[in-house]
Symmetry: C3
Subunit: 261 residues, 3 copies
């Protein structure tokens, strides 16, 4: 049951984006080989500084001296299997926020088991779609069951839900063309990691990151002819995004249940 009201305005998102651009936080991304290039460009476009190594000998150092960590389970090869727990522990020990994105766990039993093990490392934020959550939490668990105070959840889909068991937000921004480009979801996870460096509440940080990414996606899709031109347009829109655009487009709903609690 969500019982706590959430107040998140476009002005707050714009202020956090401004702060992010001022700080230029380092975001270390242990992500899949397909998404690395685009993710690095997305991280740069929002004003943060990416690093991407997955080398076992290096990953703890990079995770420690970065300001946030993204872990994405795509192309989960042997090196990544060893590097990921090391990176997550190093980041947690250094007090860094961690986003976990269990890409396509519904397509691979071995990957799903690996992901379940990582939940024990208590990532700050779990980002997944409905299929992936269904594989991680079998037995028809509801969003309320899966999100709790130790595990903020951002569920992507036609609408995005973000909650921590006490608060819950719904986002209605975005555009279908984003799904015709590879790694947009993966890169969105890196944006959420970047916002966790300027906003300590994971629900707010995730909502800020997703709003920024999806609103930039709307602007880009309106300018693009197809998925090819969407990519440069999206990076430009992220780079140029301003408070007026956020204010004019934000579609965020507080899903608080009950009253007066």
């Amino acid at each position: 049951m969500t019982t706590v009201p959430v107040s998140l305005t476009s002005d707050m998102i714009a202020a956090a984006l401004h702060q992010l651009r001022q700080n230029a936080p380092k975001v270390h991304c242990v992500t899949n080989t397909v998404a690395q290039y685009f993710t690095a460009n997305v991280v740069l476009a929002i004003g943060a500084v990416p690093s991407m190594t997955i080398a076992v000998d290096e990953v703890e150092g990079f995770a420690t001296n970065a300001d946030a960590l993204l872990v994405n389970l795509g192309t989960l090869d042997d090196t990544r299997r060893v590097a990921i727990p090391k990176a997550m522990r190093a980041a947690r020990d250094a007090g860094r926020p961690v986003v976990l994105d269990p890409v396509k766990v519904h397509r691979s039993k071995v990957r799903c088991e690996f992901a379940v093990g990582l939940l024990a490392e208590k990532p700050t934020l779990l980002r997944a779609n409905e299929d992936e959550l269904g594989a991680l939490f079998p037995g028809g668990a509801t969003f309320g069951d899966m999100a709790d105070k130790d595990r903020t959840l951002a569920m992507s889909g036609r609408q995005d839900l973000i909650g921590d068991g006490q608060k819950c937000l719904r986002l209605d921004n975005g555009h279908p063309l984003l799904a015709q480009v590879t790694a947009t979801g993966c890169a969105g996870g890196a944006v959420m990691a970047a916002f966790l460096t300027v906003e300590p509440d994971p629900v707010l940080a995730a909502a800020m990151g997703l709003s920024v990414f999806n609103i930039a996606g709307e602007i880009a899709a309106e300018r693009a002819r197809g998925p090819g031109s969407l990519v440069p347009e999206l990076l430009d829109a992220l780079y140029l995004l301003d408070a007026d655009q956020l204010d004019g487009r934000l579609k965020l709903s507080d899903l608080q249940e009950g009253t007066g609690s």
Copy 2:
């Protein structure tokens, strides 16, 4: 000797493309690290769904629950050497079509030997250029020698030849600027794999895939200023390609030899 006439019209290609967009088949791509990002976007742009893992523990599962498999031998590291035969066998056991692209085997003896071994796995379609075929089949073998009923061959070049020993087609679509962009050939292999999910005859499926890719390439090259703008234009053109464009541009010749046989 090619003895069987082939009937392939732009309407048939348009119908197959429509079917492909309806079905949204899953195409698993074990491809090189340079081509992964662009290939995933090409697969999405034609309406299919890519997956790209090369992890040894995962690749059989992904190959089995996909609808077609692309194997590309670029950046042939140790993981790929183990994963590729596993993926090919899993796909064949599950009845999935397999496209093999022996990238740059003429530049590496060890890669060439590996590729020759893979021919024993009987890929549905072998896609290669003249240099690569020269390395795979030394001793001046002709196209007719190399293509047979167990091995449909798509030979790319200024003109593309597609044959299975009985039928042979020549395609004259495409644009030189496509060669100034990395991974266009690699991504073309994934398009052919996608068409194998809607057209069972490998000669027809390969010709459909190559025609779609090369005609989109022509449209894109006419709009592009150089190889940089070609990339978004090509993805947009693939996404927007319609029956009229196919009809107006298709250059396909049946190379049947002899008469009345």
Copy 3:
């Protein structure tokens, strides 16, 4: 102390670029997973032919039958650690020029130690920024100390310095937006490697490559709306770059100290 005057004109750069486009030299790039795709497209855009494998069994063959080698230490996983010294030795034994780019060695002690070891392999050109050089040569070494006749140095930054202990050039071309796109520095290293195939003096070759890359970057940045559109514009600008553009934009200074020596 720099004592030898350097004469490098835009006409010489244009002539070398023309020669490069005529020759279409093969540049083998052992580079990081993030940069591979963009680097391959940059190499193609200037008229050279990239290959990118890092596989241990293949890398010596590719390095030997290429015309130049780029080694970039990003995403320095176990395979790269083994492949890189093999590639460097094979290239040197075959008389090929080698560019070493010790990406982010200031972020990883283990990577820095590896890079210091590679300096013993005597790369033709070391390309690095100030942070990276500070990690490689601790104790406040000056540019003059770090560059010597066995080690030409290209130090990137707001201004670029290129020297070999006897000659020194300063380049003032480029645009801040280039830093908002991933792998521009990495790809610039590949361009320098390509110019080493047409100009034997590493100082001149590095200055030619950097001028070409940075002037194309200026042209692209003036046409781009942000970092997204910069990528296609940059590749187009490299492909279309001509003598007039080089002549109108080149900002190159000879930093010769003293007179008459």
